[in-house]
Structure formats: structure tokens, C-alpha cells
């Protein structure tokens, strides 16, 4: 079974440009999460999808960030316009929503974003 995949693995852009990150969750997983770690800080929750619906987007830093999950499969996270402080590693995770309390989130390898 394929794990969570993220694309691209690395992205270097200039301040003011737009970048779109993609996450493909494990097939059949209803829950999809975005996290990020900015330089020297801890991994922080950004938002949570249940299928195509945003369940919780309280961690989104500002309106320059837009996440979508059309059709409830893969998700994209767009940063527009990118700022220097957006540099960091963006992780995606998915979980099955099996209806049990033993829910586990499976993480992708992350996308390393550098804004110059």
C-alpha cells in the first residue's frame, strides 16, 4: 500500500510568488491534515479535512494560505503571495476515520519550501 505522498519535495521561490503544494493521502483515508515546521520551531497544525470539507482550519496563519481538497482525494495548499517567513517544511498526514479511538495519522515526507 502506498503511503502519503507529497509534491514537490523541495521548492525555492522568490518573495511575492505563488507556490502550490500537493498531498496525496493513503487511498481510502477520509481525514487529511496539513502541518508545517518553520525554521527552529515546532511542528504546528494548519488544518484538517474530512473528505472534501474543512473540519478545522484554526491553524492557518493568514489569508495568504488556501487549502483545497476537491473530490475528497488529494489536497493542495497554495501560498499566495509567499513571504520569507513561510519558509519551512510542510507535512501532510492522513488517517482512516475508522470510527475507533485508535486513530493513527500517517505522515508524508514533507515539502521543503524556501522563500528568498
Amino acid at each position: 500500500e502506498a503511503g502519503v505522498t507529497q509534491f514537490p519535495s523541495h521548492s525555492v521561490i522568490e518573495k511575492g510568488q505563488t507556490v502550490t503544494l500537493r498531498c496525496d493521502p493513503i487511498s481510502g483515508h477520509d481525514n487529511l491534515y496539513w502541518y508545517r515546521r518553520v525554521m527552529g520551531k515546532e511542528i504546528k497544525f494548519l488544518l484538517h479535512f474530512v473528505k472534501e470539507s474543512k473540519q478545522d482550519e484554526s491553524g492557518m496563519p493568514n489569508n495568504r494560505f488556501l487549502a483545497e481538497r476537491t473530490g475528497g482525494t488529494y489536497s493542495t495548499l497554495k501560498v499566495q503571495p509567499a513571504e520569507l517567513e513561510d519558509s519551512g517544511v510542510y507535512f501532510c498526514a492522513s488517517s482512516q476515520n475508522s470510527g475507533t479511538v485508535q486513530e493513527t495519522q500517517y505522515f508524508g515526507p514533507g515539502t521543503r519550501l524556501l522563500v528568498l
Binding site: V4, N31, Y33, Y35, E42, I43, K44, F45, H48, Q55, D56, S58, G59, F91, A93, S95, N97, V101, Q102, E103, T104, Q105, Y106, F107, G108, P109, G110
Partner: protein, 110 residues
């Protein structure tokens, strides 16, 4: 979410048993305790999860005392490949807001 406190770093030698303790004084009744492992340039990877007493799987054991205000991850006979950051996470069903904290950087020496 209950916040967690872990040692920043630990050193060990190959073949030793490593115990990493996490404090979570404000854990709620419905909270589970989950440990993740992260290697450089990779995403966090699930190790083990528990609610109370002891849980064991093929890679680790998790000990949780009766008051559940702390937990201890036990790694038997570590190898160099166990060098990683270990995160203790506490959260309710579905964990829709994981709080990672700083984690414990385990360095296994030959």
C-alpha cells in the same frame, strides 16, 4: 490539548534499553497518548499508542501509570538506526490537532 514535556535530548549506546519519559499533567479523561518517531528529512512515523497501563508492539513498549500524568516509551536494545527525534503526543479521538512539542532527540552511539 494537553501539552507535553520531554527531555530535549538523550544519549545511549547500541544494545541498551532506552526509556523516554513524557509528562502530561493536564491530560484529559478522553485523551490517548501516542508516540511518533522522526528521522531527518522524513515525516513523523507512528510508533505506539496507549490509554493506560502497558502497551507493547514489535518495536516498543509504552508504560502509563494509573494517574496518566506521564508516560514512558521504552525501546529495547537500540541500534544506530534508532537515532531520531521522538515525540509524545496527547489528544482526543481523531487527533485533529496534534501538538508536537520539541520532542526528544535520541542519539545512539556505537
Amino acid at each position: 490539548l494537553a501539552k507535553t514535556t520531554q527531555p530535549i535530548s538523550m544519549d545511549s549506546y547500541e544494545g541498551q534499553e532506552v526509556n523516554i519519559t513524557c509528562s502530561h499533567n493536564n491530560i484529559a479523561t478522553n485523551d490517548y497518548i501516542t508516540w511518533y518517531q522522526q528521522f531527518p528529512s522524513q515525516g513523523p512515523r507512528f510508533i505506539i499508542q496507549g490509554y493506560k497501563t502497558k502497551v507493547t508492539n514489535e518495536v516498543a513498549s509504552l508504560f502509563i501509570p494509573a494517574d496518566r500524568k506521564s508516560s514512558t516509551l521504552s525501546l529495547p536494545r537500540v541500534s544506530l538506526s534508532d537515532t531520531a527525534v521522538y515525540y509524545c503526543l496527547v489528544g482526543v479521538y481523531n487527533f485533529n490537532k496534534f501538538y508536537f512539542g520539541s520532542g526528544t532527540k535520541l542519539n545512539v552511539k556505537p
